[in-house]
């Protein structure tokens, strides 16, 4: 029998994350194709194993601090001892550095940005999103026990199922040089973009802070709020709490209008819950049009004022 497929179970403030459950769905498919077992690696609170019933077995090591250093050392040790066929690691802010460090310690690649993974005549081939979503690469690795960084949203979350078997494993951790001290919560006050029905999302295409007025006007006309992509947050034109995506918020508005956003996977993973998605972009090949219901391939500086006027006229 082929060696096992592993999923690194990610825990966030006392719970197994949604992405972990999605990876278990994908891991199950891959294990099925290669006739192997699916195991979850849980580094921390053993009681959380109950949420990982989608796996055949949970390898549980307690007392691993939530730092990339500790998680990587534990994972690398277990991989060396038990030689899984592959390890699926959540490609999230939480786990990407731990996965990368474990791969570096094991001298295997960390194939990342995977939205799909399948066995092709015994070799695992990942479908990876590169260049901000403009292209995709089919990638295989020449090593055993390769790590794959899998994008959130690659599959639906697996249901917990029956309580899995749990195997306690021991790991020896190096002296900690990275120590977690505390969480910093988002600043209170301001708009909660996760609760809005209408969101106007602004990207780098807006060019300057003054131009944010255009988005504010459209939001006012539609009765919604303004949010943004990473570059707009980086510039300080909107607070961190208004960022949508991988390192920002998951939003679920009825209407999401994107102005000058290219549609990088890190942004798009934040809008899975949006009902109607509209994109305005001057680049006809922008990946954002693959993630929207309606698209306008034009200059936002021409479209937005016209749109605001048309909304006002329609509403009367």
């Amino acid at each position: 029998m082929a060696s096992n497929i592993w999923v690194l179970a990610e825990t966030w403030r006392g719970q197994v994350t949604e992405t972990t459950l999605e990876l278990l769905t994908l891991g199950r498919e891959v294990a099925g194709q290669s006739g192997s077992q699916l195991e979850a690696v849980l580094l921390g609170d053993k009681s959380l194993a109950a949420s990982l019933g989608a796996a055949d077995n949970v390898l549980c090591a307690a007392n691993v601090e939530p730092t990339p250093e500790a998680v990587a050392a534990a994972l690398a040790q277990l991989v060396k001892e038990r030689q899984p066929q592959a390890v699926l690691v959540p490609w999230t802010n939480l786990s990407m550095d731990a996965g990368a460090l474990a791969a570096a310690q094991l001298n295997v690649p960390f194939v990342n940005g995977c939205k799909d993974l399948k066995s092709d005549a015994g070799t695992l081939v990942a479908q990876c999103v590169v260049y901000g979503g403009k292209l995709e690469a089919a990638v295989s690795a020449t090593t055993a026990s390769t790590l794959f960084g899998v994008l959130p949203g690659s599959r639906s979350a697996a249901s917990p199922g029956n309580a899995p078997t749990v195997t306690d494993v021991a790991v020896t951790l190096p002296e900690a040089k990275v120590k977690f001290t505390k969480y910093l919560e988002p600043e209170a006050g301001g708009v909660d973009i996760t609760q809005q029905d209408v969101l106007i999302a602004v990207g780098r295409g807006i060019q300057t802070q003054d131009n944010m007025e255009l988005a504010n006007d459209l939001a006012a006309a539609l009765g919604g709020a303004v949010c943004g992509s990473r570059p707009v947050i980086d510039q300080g034109w909107l607070p961190l709490s208004c960022q949508v995506g991988k390192s920002g918020m998951q939003v679920k508005p009825k209407l999401y209008i994107m102005l000058g956003i290219s549609g990088a996977p890190e942004h798009i993973e934040g809008i899975k819950g949006a009902q109607v998605v509209v994109a305005v972009n001057t680049d006809a090949a922008a990946p954002v049009f693959n993630a929207s219901h309606y698209g306008i391939n034009a200059d936002l500086f021409e479209v937005v004022p016209a749109l605001t006027e048309a909304v006002k006229a329609k509403k009367g």
């Binding site: 250093e69 999230t92 960390f110 990342n112 292209l135 090593t143 120590k179 918020m249 049009f289 693959n290």
Partner: protein
Amino acid sequence: MNILVLLKMVPDVVEELEVAGDGKSLDTSFLRTIINERDDHALEQAILLKERHGGKVTVVALDAPDIDDTLFATMAKGADRAVKITDAPEGMTTQMAAKLCGQVVAGLLPADLVLTGVQALDDLDGLSAALVAQQLNFPYIGVVTAVTAGGPTATVLKEFAGGVRGEFAVTLPAVLGVQAAEKPPRYVPVAKVRAVMKTNKIETVSAPGDAGAAQIEVRQLAKPVVSSHAEMLEGSPEEAAGKLVELLAQRGLL
């Protein structure tokens, strides 16, 4: 503080990207490359730290088209030295490039911090920061958005999701994968870059021998096959806006 910053040139994804005839790589004939956006933040964070604590910032990059302009710009912004790694083999994977960079960085030590961008947008088998940290036996953490130094440890913020950040105490020397600097990367006028070109030199180092072998194989590179594409609203901006408003009204969204 002595800070080393790793920089990489990547394709500008606002441009059209074409796949080469082999079906596995990028057609580089008309490719426009720019500094990886996250690396600009790594550089900014390094310069901010230098301004607060004194010290030196050294930028290290593999040779690439347009790299000289980028390196001169980093010096115009405040980097003290720029080191270009020449004669590296073609077609290296991220892992191989990181092996070379790590060896060059080892030769530039001591340093308190090695900063990289958290990720490059052409990366398929990274992340370089972790690979370099492993070679140097330095601690590493990624997705960093703030660094406070001034002792044997640095206080580092890592961005999780939902606006939550974690604070970590990191023993120096360390490698950090930077997501965003504390301030937007500074702008530098072309005139200043030109002036720096006259006074400063880019140092070159020949690539050290061993990059190892590729451990990944790209079987195909292609435009995404999509399950859905937006319905495009055509016409003048006014016409397209009008059509959208009608559609939104029909769906009860106005």
